[in-house]
Symmetry: C2
Subunit: 274 residues, 2 copies
């Protein structure tokens, strides 16, 4: 069976385009409908209540697009509001970055010292460390919220001394502690892979949430026989919808997606009755 | 006449405590009721629509405290939503940082080259530059949105190489252009005065919005004969209300207020009917 329905990608901003990049690379035939609530971004410092509210509304809107799977491409939402989304999505699989990253880290760490970086809300939620502990309770987890990283990516300040200094500031303790595997628990951080790898050295493996979320989507679609193998490029039939247009659209989508993305479509925000 | 009602201080986060600090210094007898919508912070990258909505709700809630003046201590709100607030505040004066900063800069600049830094929303609004142009159309304005500064203050990364490098990054162009007067158009930036002055050198005067907003409050209260001269310290009878408690309360209020602040009170967020 080949299921030609698109994969739904739920995001709080634009960082989840990193997940779209990896999905396109792994499964070039799949179409996507992406919905990023850019008008409500950034979520990383907000309360769990606000994050759940955004998650629920975005999921409901995304479901209108006849999707075959919902990929939570924002790890803050995946960490804080996974159950909220599952409660509104009935008939299709829901995946996020937490479990695949935790599994990848547990498999790859040699010394059982795993690092985690992400938004303040993600770290506060404990979702990644709970998942890791469930997989292997001998793993020690060293967590660090990295709001400045997120601000740097939003400003597209990537290959810059400020970014390198910030990487040292956030990560020197993990280097000291001998962490050998670091989860980038935020798809927004994907554009910082190089700077971070340069800072921590080759002795620390990086687990990029964008990549592992896409791999999880591939695994689940394959397992459920929902893959769409097509010679047509799925990206051409994909839609990328946002609730507010970014000022510097081409540059910011380029940073996350890595090449030319179809134009972002603007979705009017509906007033909700309930 | 002496009016013993408190001064209302409206804020979107906690940066407006810098304004409270200056009010206490200039008018130690005045009581304040401060309301910071920390649950909705930060506002600096959000759309004008969202900012106006927060401004209106916060103003309505603050008005319940029998205040004699409303001081908009968040320059993003002052720049974007001044009229929104004026439309809900009928009988008492409303002041914000835009006009006093613009007047101070126009008076102080020698070469008519004025710089402005603030949030993205503040810069986009054009409020400060419009005010400056109305006062003196010969002034050249050089604007720079500084979201990283805001992220650094939120993280309390103040006296650090990252902060100094960021200051160079944002301000080298203004230094090159010979700007002789720089408006810190965001009360949140008050804790960065020293680092910024160290970067731009003594040839560039800084106009701190926190100070000039407080001076404006003093001028208007005096002009309207609403001052409360008391031997009792107003701070002791003041209230500081937020919609979400910060994790590191004492440290963050210390950075903005400069000394011990009474404990923050938590205000439940009401569901609005309309």
């Amino acid at each position: 069976m080949s299921d030609s329905r698109p994969v739904g990608i739920l995001d709080s901003g634009l960082g989840g385009l990193s997940v779209c990049r990896e999905i396109t690379r792994l499964m070039p035939g799949e179409r996507m409908v992406y919905l990023g609530d850019t008008a409500g971004a950034p979520l990383g410092n907000r309360s769990a209540e606000v994050i759940k509210d955004v998650a629920r509304k975005t999921a409901v809107a995304l479901l209108e697009n006849n999707i075959k799977m919902m990929v939570i491409a924002c790890d803050t939402i995946a960490a804080v509001a996974y159950e909220t989304i599952e409660s509104v999505v009935k008939d299709i699989p829901v995946i996020g970055g937490v479990m695949p990253c935790a599994r990848a880290a547990a498999l790859r760490t040699g010394n059982r010292k795993v690092g985690l970086i992400g938004t303040s809300a993600t770290i506060r939620s404990g979702a990644f460390s709970n998942a890791l502990q469930r997989i292997d309770e001998s793993v020690q987890i060293h967590e660090q919220a990295t709001p400045l990283f997120h601000a740097l990516v939003e400003e597209l300040i990537l290959d810059h001394d400020i970014t390198r200094l910030t990487a040292q500031f956030y990560l020197y303790e993990m280097i000291d502690l001998g962490v050998d595997c670091l989860i980038l628990g935020s798809s927004c951080l994907s554009p910082l892979m190089e700077v971070i790898q340069g800072t921590v050295g080759t002795g620390m493996q990086l687990i990029d949430s964008a990549l592992w979320t896409a791999k999880e989507a591939q695994d689940i679609l394959t397992a459920l026989d929902l893959r769409h193998e097509s010679s047509a490029a799925g990206i051409d039939g994909s839609r990328f919808i946002v609730t507010q247009k970014p000022v510097d659209e081409a540059r910011i989508t380029g940073v996350y997606f890595g090449s030319q993305l179809p134009s972002l479509e603007l979705r009017a925000q509906k007033q909700e009755a309930g």
